[in-house]
C-alpha cells in the first residue's frame, strides 16, 4: 500500500513537475510597424534559455522578418499578423529586423538560467 502511494506520489510529481515552468512562460511578443517605424520604438526583450518565444509582427508593408543568430525568417503580408514560434535554445543577444526595409525591431537577450 505504502509502495503504491509512493508510486502515485512520484507519478503525480512527474506530471506536475513541468507545470510551474509552463506557468512562468514569458508573454508573447507583439510588435507593430507603421510607415517603417516600430510602434513604441525598438525594444530589448529579456528571456531565459529554453523559454518558448512567440513573436508576432504586423506591418503595413510586405516584408520579411529576420531573427539574427537563430536565422529564422517569416514572410509578412501587409495588415496580417505573422507569428514565429521557437524555443530560445541559444543564449546571447540577437537583433530582430525587417529584411527588406531594414527596420530594426529590437533585440532579444537570452540569458542562461
Amino acid at each position: 500500500m505504502r509502495n503504491r502511494l509512493t508510486c502515485a506520489f512520484w507519478l503525480a510529481s512527474l506530471m506536475l513537475g513541468p507545470l510551474p515552468a509552463l506557468a512562468a512562460d514569458p508573454a508573447p511578443i507583439e510588435l507593430a510597424v507603421v510607415k517603417g517605424q516600430v510602434t513604441g520604438g525598438a525594444k530589448v526583450i529579456r528571456l531565459k534559455r529554453d523559454d518558448p518565444v512567440s513573436l508576432t509582427i504586423t506591418s503595413d508593408q510586405a516584408d520579411e522578418l529576420h531573427v539574427h543568430g537563430y536565422n529564422l525568417h517569416a514572410d509578412i503580408v501587409p495588415g496580417k499578423p505573422s507569428t514565429l514560434k521557437f524555443i530560445a535554445k541559444r543564449t546571447g543577444r540577437f537583433s530582430m529586423e525587417l529584411h527588406k526595409s531594414g527596420v530594426e525591431l529590437g533585440t532579444l537577450e537570452i540569458y542562461p538560467k
Binding site: 530589448v44 536565422n71 543564449t91 546571447g92 537583433s95 530594426e104 533585440t107 537577450e109
Partner: protein
C-alpha cells in the same frame, strides 16, 4: 615629444573635419555582424579583477625572491641561413593573397549588396581582420611574406620602369605616423563607416592606391615598415608567436633563421623607438576598449546627461526636427572625437605611471625613454582585449565562408557544392563565452606583467629596484585589465 603631440593634434582636427564632411546619413550605427555576446555578470567581473590582483603580486613576489627566473631569455638555437629566393610554395601563396584581394574588390563592385551574401564582407572583416591576425599571433607573421599590396607593388616594379625607391629624403623621420593615421581611419571605417560590399571594395581600391603612392613616395621598404598599418599590426602580433623564423626568405637572410623562441618573448626582442609606435600600441588597446564601450548605456548617458545639456544651448535653433537631427550629429562627432583622442588618454595615464616608476627607482633615464622601453609589454593586453571582443564573430560569421566560397557574389552559383547549404552559425553558450573572456583577459594581464618585469630587470641595476619599478606599472596594468573587464560587463544600449 611636444612637437609630435602637436602634429598629432593637427592630424586629429583635420581628420574629424574630413570625417564630418564624408559622413553618410547619420542614423544608428550598424556594424556588419554585430556580436551576440551578453554583458559579463558582476560576479565574473569581480572574480576576474581580484584574480588579476592576486596573480600580479604572485609574479612580483616570485621575481623579487628569484630574479634569475628569466625563462624567456633562454638563447635559442640558430639554424643556418637559407637562400634568399622565394620557393614555389611562397610564390603560390603570394598569388593566392593577391587573388583574394582582387576577388574581394570585384565581388563587392559587381556582386550582391547584401552584406551577408557577398563574400567580400565576411572575408575582409572576419577572416582577414580577425582570423589572419589571430593566426599570426600563433604561427608568426606570415602576412609579411604574402602582403598582397607589397606583392602588387613588387610586381609593378618588376614589369614597369617605376622604381619605388622613394622621393622623400629621410622617410625614417616620419616614423610610424603614416601607419597610425591609416589605422585610425580604418577603425573609424569599421565602427562608423557602415560599409556595404560596394563601399568596402571602394575602400580597398583607395587603400591599394594609397599603398602605391606611399611606396613611391617613401620608398618600398620604408612604406611597408612604417606606412602599411596592417603590416605593423601583424608584425606586433607575430612577435608573440613562439615561431621565430620569418616567412619571407629575404627577411630570413637578414635576420638569421632560428626557429623557436619562448612564447611572447619576441616582444622583448624589439623596442619601440618612437612615440608613434607607442601610440599605435595604445590605439590597439583604446580602439577595442572604445568599440566595447561606445554602444553601452553608461556611455550614451555620459553624453546625453553629462555633456549634451551644456553644449545644446550653443546650437539651439530651428524646429524640433532640426534640433533632433543636430543632436544626433553632435552625438556622432562626440563618438569620433572620443575614438581619436582615446590613445592620447591612454598615453597620459601610461606616462603618468611610468613617471611614478622613475620617481620610485630614482632612475636616471628620462620618462620618455622608460615609456618606450615598456611599450611592447602592453601588446599582450591589447591582443586579449581584441580576442575577447571579437573571437565569437570569427566563429559565428567566419563559418559562413563554407557557403560563400561557392556563391561569392550572391548570384545563386554553386561552385563547390556548398552554395545552397544553410550553414548554422557556430555559436558558443554565453556562459562559456564569459568564462573564456575573463580567462583570456587574466592570461594577457599575467603575460604583460611578466614581460614588463623582464624588461625592468634589464633596465634597473638590482632586482629590488626592478621590483620597485614594477609596482606603479602593476597598478597601471591592473587599471587596463579591470577597465577591460568592466567594459565587458557594461549593460548594452537599446537597439541593435
Amino acid at each position: 615629444m611636444k612637437r609630435n603631440l602637436e602634429s598629432v593634434a593637427t592630424l586629429f582636427a583635420g581628420f574629424i573635419a574630413v570625417a564630418v564632411l564624408l559622413a553618410p546619413g547619420l542614423a544608428a550605427a550598424h556594424t556588419f555582424a554585430p556580436p551576440y555576446t551578453l554583458p559579463v555578470p558582476f560576479t565574473f567581473y569581480a572574480f576576474g579583477a581580484a584574480a588579476a590582483l592576486v596573480l600580479s603580486f604572485v609574479i612580483v613576489g616570485v621575481f623579487a625572491t628569484a630574479p634569475s627566473l628569466g625563462l624567456l631569455h633562454r638563447p635559442v638555437v640558430d639554424a643556418p641561413a637559407e637562400r634568399a629566393r622565394p620557393g614555389v610554395l611562397l610564390l603560390a601563396a603570394r598569388l593566392v593573397s593577391v587573388a583574394l584581394l582582387i576577388i574581394c574588390i570585384v565581388s563587392g563592385l559587381i556582386g550582391t549588396q547584401n552584406s551577408y551574401a557577398n563574400i567580400n564582407m565576411t572575408f575582409f572583416w572576419i577572416v582577414f581582420v580577425l582570423g589572419v591576425a589571430y593566426a599570426v599571433a600563433i604561427v608568426g607573421d606570415f602576412y609579411a611574406a604574402v602582403n598582397p599590396w607589397r606583392v602588387l607593388v613588387d610586381a609593378v616594379a618588376q614589369v614597369t620602369p617605376i622604381r619605388f625607391g622613394g622621393h622623400l629624403r629621410a622617410p625614417e623621420r616620419l616614423h610610424y605616423w603614416p601607419a597610425l593615421v591609416l589605422y585610425m581611419m580604418f577603425i573609424w571605417l569599421e565602427l562608423f563607416g557602415r560599409t556595404k560590399p560596394w563601399s568596402l571594395s571602394v575602400a580597398l581600391l583607395v587603400y591599394t592606391a594609397i599603398n602605391f603612392v606611399g611606396a613611391w613616395w617613401m620608398g618600398r621598404d620604408a612604406w611597408f615598415r612604417q606606412g602599411e598599418f596592417f603590416a605593423i599590426f601583424m608584425r606586433l602580433l607575430g612577435k608573440m608567436s613562439p615561431w621565430a623564423r620569418p616567412y619571407d626568405p629575404e627577411e630570413r637572410a637578414r635576420t638569421g633563421s632560428r626557429r623557436w623562441r619562448a612564447p611572447f618573448s619576441g616582444l622583448l626582442e624589439e623596442r619601440a623607438h618612437h612615440i608613434s609606435l607607442l601610440l599605435f600600441i595604445l590605439f590597439m588597446l583604446s580602439s577595442t576598449a572604445f568599440d566595447g564601450i561606445h554602444d553601452t548605456s553608461p556611455w550614451a548617458n555620459l553624453f546625453w546627461k553629462g555633456i549634451y545639456p551644456y553644449i545644446a544651448p550653443l546650437f539651439a535653433s530651428g524646429t524640433t526636427a532640426q534640433q533632433y537631427a543636430l543632436s544626433a550629429k553632435l552625438y556622432y562627432i562626440w563618438q569620433w572625437i572620443a575614438l581619436l583622442v582615446s590613445p592620447l588618454v591612454y598615453l597620459a595615464v601610461y606616462v603618468l605611471f611610468v613617471a611614478i616608476a622613475k620617481f620610485v627607482t630614482r632612475s636616471t633615464q628620462s620618462v620618455g625613454a622608460l615609456a618606450l622601453r615598456f611599450a611592447m609589454s602592453l601588446v599582450p593586453i591589447a591582443f586579449v582585449y581584441h580576442v575577447t571582443h571579437y573571437y565569437t564573430l570569427l566563429l559565428s560569421q567566419g563559418t559562413q565562408m563554407i557557403r560563400l566560397v561557392s556563391d561569392p557574389m550572391g548570384r545563386g552559383w554553386d561552385l563547390f557544392g556548398t552554395g545552397r547549404q544553410t550553414v548554422e552559425p557556430l555559436m558558443i553558450d554565453v556562459e562559456a563565452i564569459w568564462h573564456t573572456q575573463v580567462a583570456l583577459i587574466l592570461f594577457g594581464h599575467i603575460v604583460s606583467v611578466y614581460l614588463a618585469h623582464l624588461e625592468a630587470l634589464q633596465i634597473f641595476s638590482t632586482p629590488r629596484r626592478a621590483a620597485a619599478s614594477q609596482l606603479p606599472l602593476l597598478v597601471l596594468m591592473m587599471m587596463f585589465t579591470t577597465l577591460g573587464l568592466w567594459i565587458l560587463s557594461l549593460p548594452l544600449g537599446s537597439g541593435g
